[in-house]
Symmetry: C2
Subunit: 215 residues, 2 copies
């Protein structure tokens, strides 16, 4: 947690530091990110930095917490009552909210992505210890429910599939980035198109057997 000193700062200054730091971590990842660049970039003295944060990790964790909170705020209400909808509807909603979050907050999305790519990093492990439920755990719950309800096939390795879905969600974001160049007018239509294609794929697979649906 940042020190009180940081919380006392005028919001503009706080936001500046956070933004500069986001960019730094987004570009370089945790280990290669430089505190020196962050302080010089945000125009504060090195000494001040260490009056705001315990250390580099403290800042990073702060950004992560902020980001997770923000991302949660993107979740559609549908996701909070998983019992009431079928698996693929929920999945669609989750992917869609993830995509919306990422397109509206590309800088923040980058550090979440970094975390997912570095699940062996001490930072990730530490985070897992103190915090509960990662997205892949959530998927696992949904999958088990879906299997019980007969919405998906039996005998699938749900643990693996949940990891896969986390993965797919990230790569979907990357793909849309690359395709659209992160234009700000990310029309709802465009996003829905990509997400629907993805869900359809997960649902019916690649094979040509006329399985297309239109729900």
């Amino acid at each position: 947690m940042p020190k009180q000193t940081f919380l006392n700062l005028p919001p503009k200054k706080r936001a500046l530091i956070e933004n500069i730091a986001m960019k730094e971590f987004g570009e370089y990842g945790y280990d290669l990110a430089s505190v020196n660049r962050i302080v010089s970039g945000s125009g504060i003295a090195k000494g001040s930095f260490y009056q705001y944060f315990e250390d580099k990790k403290d800042l990073f964790m702060h950004l992560l917490n902020q980001t997770m909170e923000l991302k949660l705020s993107y979740l559609s209400p549908i996701a909070f009552e998983p019992q009431a909808h079928d698996f693929f509807t929920l999945l669609r909603e989750l992917f869609l909210s993830g995509l919306r979050f990422a397109l509206n907050n590309p800088e923040r999305a980058k550090i979440g992505e970094w975390l997912m790519r570095n699940q062996e990093h001490e930072i990730f492990i530490e985070l897992m210890d103190e915090s509960t439920s990662v997205s892949s755990d959530f998927y696992l719950t949904l999958l088990k429910e879906a299997e019980k309800k007969g919405e998906i096939r039996k005998g699938l390795d749900l643990e693996y599939i949940s990891a896969m879905l986390t993965n797919l969600s990230v790569s979907l974001v990357n793909y849309v980035y690359k395709k659209t160049g992160v234009v700000f007018s990310n029309s709802k239509d465009m996003m829905m198109k990509h997400v629907d294609a993805m869900i359809d794929l997960i649902k019916f697979g690649l094979i040509n057997q006329g399985g297309q649906s239109d729900d």
Copy 2:
């Protein structure tokens, strides 16, 4: 390319250096890997290192080239005549050979994986410029062929799917690592089981509609 001096080395010494370096890059990735640790680990002087290689990148590229060659040697003959088999058979073969390679050469597999995870790194970009065809390009070719032959559905975003398949192949390896703890007796049966499950998933998707096959 390593300098002649390195090629003149007794094979044992050469192999030692390569092995130590593999571990270093596998554990830390390119940027965080330390030449100092490599030289002290393999018991040579720093000066010697720079008589063997131009620089750190030179060594890394050398290892990458070796690794790609080795991986290629794992490809089943089937993969060299893509016209003669249907898409899912080929895919199965590719996944299987990838898995076999990774399980038999865990250290080497790690750096290939690092490369795939860091496609924005200057190293990757440089490699793309000089070398041809990455795996995802190969998938794309196969997918186009399969679409033409009607083996897969029409209207799919093949470019995205090829990226996805690359991804899946990597995560399959990771999963099997985690599941089996990289025991040496990786029975063919066990590998086939995992690969078949994966292919089945890609082929038919998650939905419960009795699509299971047995080819």
